[in-house]
Symmetry: C2
Subunit: 358 residues, 2 copies
């Protein structure tokens, strides 16, 4: 086994989820990530925790969703019970085909997200970590050789997370007492929102591995303006490019996309909360130095800002604030490397991708 | 996808487990069996059932067991909760290496079986089916090419189970009111046991796919004599050959094996019930025409009898009879093709592999 896989497993177990003796650990992984699942089983044994191994498969999901009646979908109760009995959930992504679910009707995907919302809620109430195992399909998406992509993934994952945490704390301090955040990029993005009373989180690879962002939730009705998301988003097996959203009083009142607009429409129409922003995130990880068309990495880049329509994480919402509730949480990226800036209460804190404290 | 995989999935869902709308179905499969899992997800969608996909991996099991302290093992509670919330469990076997767990200490394997006994009990209380997906490693074990082995597996699985049921019913009738069964093979096996008051089951591929046996549980204290199991048994990743058991009043009082005797010892020492017989089975499936060193198939051959030390299935034990209880259930085979016979209450019902009604 590549020693970097054992190191990856050790960071998941010892840093991200702090597994200890007696923990019940659910490991969810697709077939190509079996080696990382094996390494995680080994670490569980070392730490006195008990692993349970769950599969995930885009092919199986596709086959089910195409055959099922979207009106008749049920919540996956065994999975909910499984998550409820767990202390820690580790979810590994390792795609073999990013467009595997491209021939599933967006309404069916949205309906399935709705019925499985209680399952996701249980999952998010545990100690959890989402991480990535490199595959040839992931490399292809990034336009890289498989070996170069493996290096890229493990360089981003197997690193000094305490140093990263300290770097990001500077941005947390700026946002902690802030009211208005404005994000401007070229002549296509100019959006303002309040983060007053919200909680700013420092992501140093607890829930996401790699981590490397500072994020919070906007005040639900405060979002005003328009955003063009520069980078494609893979959703439901389809590449949505040129997604554009116009917000009024927190609600998406206009939307379009250059390709697969109906996927974006399907997401926004899932429920009430899907038309509002649930997250504003600022990428700060300088070790992720290129777009790989994988949100888990792209959103952590130092030259990006991302916004998610849909569900707001409970730990980002202040005690006196409303939490945006949705079965969706779809991150989309604005490239901030050129002709761009972030303003916090009128002061520029980032310009063309460079932070004031760098 | 090979059309035989869809047929296989359809038999699992429509014949073996009778999946219907509203059912919660847990599908447990190792990575090489993903295509059958995909086909099962499709059938679940067609039938209005909800699938949950669970992995199983001998490599992951090995890694965990080698790293873990056998004294500190816990029950996998998330898995128990998962099974409890399910209506149907489909377990697919598809090994990549039959000796994968060969370097795990037998005591650790036995300890893990003990702590997970409650999980197995929940599993056996559901509608369940165990089936096989052909892999190159399975073919290698059988000494066959991969393609010939695929043909062998799907010929045995995708067949007319109603006809098989009728064939086997003749044997059920013989055993239903019987008292003593005697099994003799060469000069190495001569064992008697009572089946009086026990329930005889006709296995026409409900729980095992392929099916093809008639089985019951012996009266716990009635087993007398000795048995040499002619065919190797793979247990805990090791090939146990020439296993020999001597019974007195139902208990194994002597045992030996030509290879890996310590594995046999570990099994017998798991708990009280592991030293007693939990099952007597008579193979009756003439479509399985060769040994492939896979118990799921070998025990169904018309020329074999098998006995399992350990747990007795509840549905084979009569209402006034004690059920043998154990964390183990290990089937072992006697080749009945030559110099062999089965006697029921003094009458020969099979001689050299040929039944009286054939």
């Amino acid at each position: 086994m590549d020693p970097r896989i054992r190191e990856h497993a050790s960071i998941v177990a010892r840093h991200s989820t702090a597994i200890e003796a007696g923990d019940q650990v659910v490991i969810s992984a697709p077939a190509p990530a079996e080696e990382l699942a094996v390494a995680l089983h080994e670490v569980c044994g070392e730490l006195g925790a008990t692993p349970t191994y769950v599969a995930n498969s885009a092919r199986a999901d596709r086959a089910f969703m195409r055959a099922a009646d979207p009106e008749g979908l049920d919540t996956a109760e065994p999975k909910r019970a499984l998550f409820e009995a767990a202390d820690v959930l580790v979810r590994i992504r390792a795609g073999r085909n990013a467009t595997e679910t491209s021939d599933v009707a967006p309404e069916t995907s949205a309906a399935r997200s709705r019925v499985n919302k209680p399952v996701q809620e249980v999952a998010l109430s545990k100690r959890w970590c989402l991480t990535q195992f490199p595959t040839p399909a992931g490399a292809q998406l990034a336009g890289m050789s498989t070996e170069a992509y493996e290096n890229f993934v493990w360089d981003a994952v197997n690193k000094d997370w305490d140093a990263q945490r300290a770097h990001q704390e500077q941005m947390v301090e700026i946002l902690a007492d802030a009211d208005e955040v404005r994000v401007v990029s070229g002549d296509t993005t100019d959006v303002r929102m309040s983060v007053d009373g919200m909680v700013v989180q420092n992501d140093y690879a607890e829930h996401n591995l790699p981590g490397g962002e500072v994020f919070t939730a906007p005040v639900v009705d405060s979002v005003q303006g328009e955003v063009l998301f520069d980078k494609p988003v893979y959703q439901q097996g389809r590449e949505v490019t040129g997604a554009r959203l116009v917000f009024e009083d927190g609600v998406v009142v206009e939307h379009s996309a250059e390709t697969n607009e109906e996927v974006l429409t399907g997401i926004l129409e899932t429920d009430e909360g899907a038309r509002r922003l649930g997250e504003l995130g600022i990428g700060m990880n300088r070790d992720i130095d290129r777009f790989t068309y994988n949100m888990l990495f792209d959103e952590k880049m130092g030259d990006t800002v991302h916004m998610a329509v849909g569900n707001a994480y409970a730990d980002t919402v202040g005690p006196d604030r409303e939490r945006n509730d949705s079965a969706q949480h779809v991150d989309m990226i604005v490239d901030m490397s050129e002709e761009s800036f972030i303003e916090v209460d009128g002061e520029r804190v980032q310009e063309d991708g460079r932070f004031v404290f760098e």
